[in-house]
């Protein structure tokens, strides 16, 4: 089992752990962290794809493939921006309501049904 294979298996395991966390965990910051773990899994797989041992010629002499490295850098930038936006929104939500979970995770009516009830009075007075 060579290095690229070990990296790939770890990457897939990270992806699975992150996916499980994003779906199951209720706290929003934990969801964001789980999504970051998922992202790390994907990036690790890309790095494993770049490993020189995947080419057929002498692995010790060839350089890593640069294209997946560029993909990983782009992906990291996107992930950081999205994480920042998510955390900013969570802060806003917490400041407004004091809560850090989605209504459906608290057992309250799910999103669509909640909106189908009439809006509260503050709208009517506007």
């Amino acid at each position: 089992m060579n290095t690229a294979m070990i990296y790939s298996l770890v990457a897939v395991a990270l992806f699975g752990i992150g996916l499980f966390g994003a779906l199951v965990l209720a706290h929003l910051v934990r969801k964001v962290l789980a999504l970051n773990v998922m992202g790390t899994g994907v990036f690790m797989l890309l790095v494993a794809m770049a490993h020189p041992s995947r080419t057929q010629s002498a692995p010790e002499e060839t350089l890593p493939d640069p294209v997946p490295h560029a993909l990983v850098l782009t992906g990291i930038v996107v992930a950081v921006s999205a994480t920042a936006l998510a955390l900013a929104l969570i802060c806003r939500l917490h400041a407004a309501t004091g809560r850090t979970t989605f209504p459906e995770d608290r057992g309250e009516p799910s999103a669509g049904e909640e909106c189908s009830r009439p809006e509260p009075d503050r709208e009517r007075s506007g």
Binding site: L23, M38, R54, L71, T97, P118, G126
Partner: protein, 365 residues
């Protein structure tokens, strides 16, 4: 001149930068100038595609695989035309909307709207002009980030919750898609759509990649049963934003599924998946329509009807597996996509007008 397509991406970005730097002062000027300028670029590109065939362009002079290539063919042109029409209409409508709503909402909604709107427009154009799977991912993420910002504009708790839900679910979908891209690159060594289509055989890595990519995109395209983020997002966003989301953003993800389906993956991999997508589409039509009947707010009703219409779009995929049906299935789906996009603007505007006069959008009927 060969750069019309680049102009279609760069111009909205430039307008967005001007909007960000100048605040609300230039909103009216931008609202009129941007449709004209982008339409000019679109006409130039359209003329070039009609006269010289599909347009391919290496950004910065660097070709694939290390560089990014732009590609405009018939399908891309149709989506670009729909985007330009809808976005122009929203740009012309938005100043009036924000002026009318200014007495009940905070002023910041209008200031933040314009940069995000132009970013959304630019990323949509970039998505429809992309030629490789990774650039599709980047533009899809840009689209998601801009949409999330726009949904959260209203500032209410429901709007922020809806925006956050869309962001988290959207990130999940994007990461699934990116995993599929990694698998494709690892197995076949290329990212370009056309080259992948040539190299792909019906082997397990291709199947796995197809499954992950389509699953991720289905979340973004709000196909039943993954549509749960759509109704609250559309109902709680300002009217111009709802129009954009409903008409264009979900179509971006659908366009990506179409590209992957038709150009990249071989039919043998896709036929069982096509039947599943058709089944889910049928479910979307039924469920979306039932929920639309039950809805008590006008905007929520329109949002659920969007869910139903998206189900019609996905009926294309089982039909596309038949060899002779493919062209017609694609033509049909594109017709539905465009004809759904165009009336979406007014169907969100009527509730907005209704609301500002009466104070609420609860329907009494």
């Amino acid at each position: 001149m060969n750069h019309w397509g680049v102009g279609m991406i760069a111009l909205p970005l430039a307008f967005g930068l001007v909007a960000y730097l100048s605040g609300r002062r230039m909103a009216g000027l931008l609202a009129v100038a941007s449709p004209l300028a982008t339409a000019a670029m679109l006409l130039g590109l359209g003329r070039q595609v009609i006269q010289q065939g599909p347009w391919r362009y290496a950004v910065g002079g660097w070709g694939s695989p290390l560089g990014i290539e732009l590609h405009a063919d018939g399908l891309a042109m149709v989506m670009l035309i729909a985007t330009t029409v809808v976005a122009s209409a929203v740009a012309l409508y938005a100043p009036g909307y924000f002026r009318a709503a200014a007495h009940s909402k905070s002023d910041e909604t209008s200031t933040s709207f314009w940069p995000l709107f132009f970013l959304l427009w630019a990323s949509l154009n970039a998505l429809f002009l992309s030629a490789d799977v990774f650039n599709l991912y980047v533009t899809l993420e840009l689209l998601t980030l801009a949409s999330v910002g726009l949904i959260a504009l209203a500032g209410t708790t429901e709007a922020i919750t809806a925006a956050l839900r869309y962001l988290i679910v959207g990130l999940l979908g994007s990461l699934l898609y990116l995993m599929g891209v990694s698998l494709l690159y690892g197995a076949f060594g290329v990212l370009d759509l056309a080259t992948l289509g040539e190299r792909l055989a019906a082997d397990p890595s291709g199947q796995m990649a197809a499954a992950m990519m389509v699953a991720g995109l289905l979340i973004k395209a709000a196909l039943f049963p993954l549509h749960f983020w759509l109704p609250p997002a559309h109902a709680n966003a300002p009217a111009p934003v709802s129009a954009l989301l409903s008409a264009l953003v979900v179509k971006g993800a659908f366009y990506m599924v179409v590209r992957l389906w038709l150009e990249v993956f071989p039919t043998a991999t896709l036929s069982p998946g096509g039947k599943l997508l058709g089944l889910l589409g049928a479910g979307a039509i039924v469920w979306g329509s039932i929920q639309a009947f039950r809805a008590e707010r006008l905007k929520l009703l329109v949002a659920y009807s969007t869910v139903a219409q998206l189900g019609y779009l996905f009926l294309m995929f089982p039909l596309a597996s038949l060899a002779e049906g493919q062209r017609m299935a694609l033509a049909g789906a594109v017709c539905i996509a465009v004809s759904h996009a165009l009336p979406r603007r007014p169907s969100f505007w009527r509730p907005a007008r209704f609301r500002t006069r009466q104070g609420t959008t609860v329907s009494t009927g």
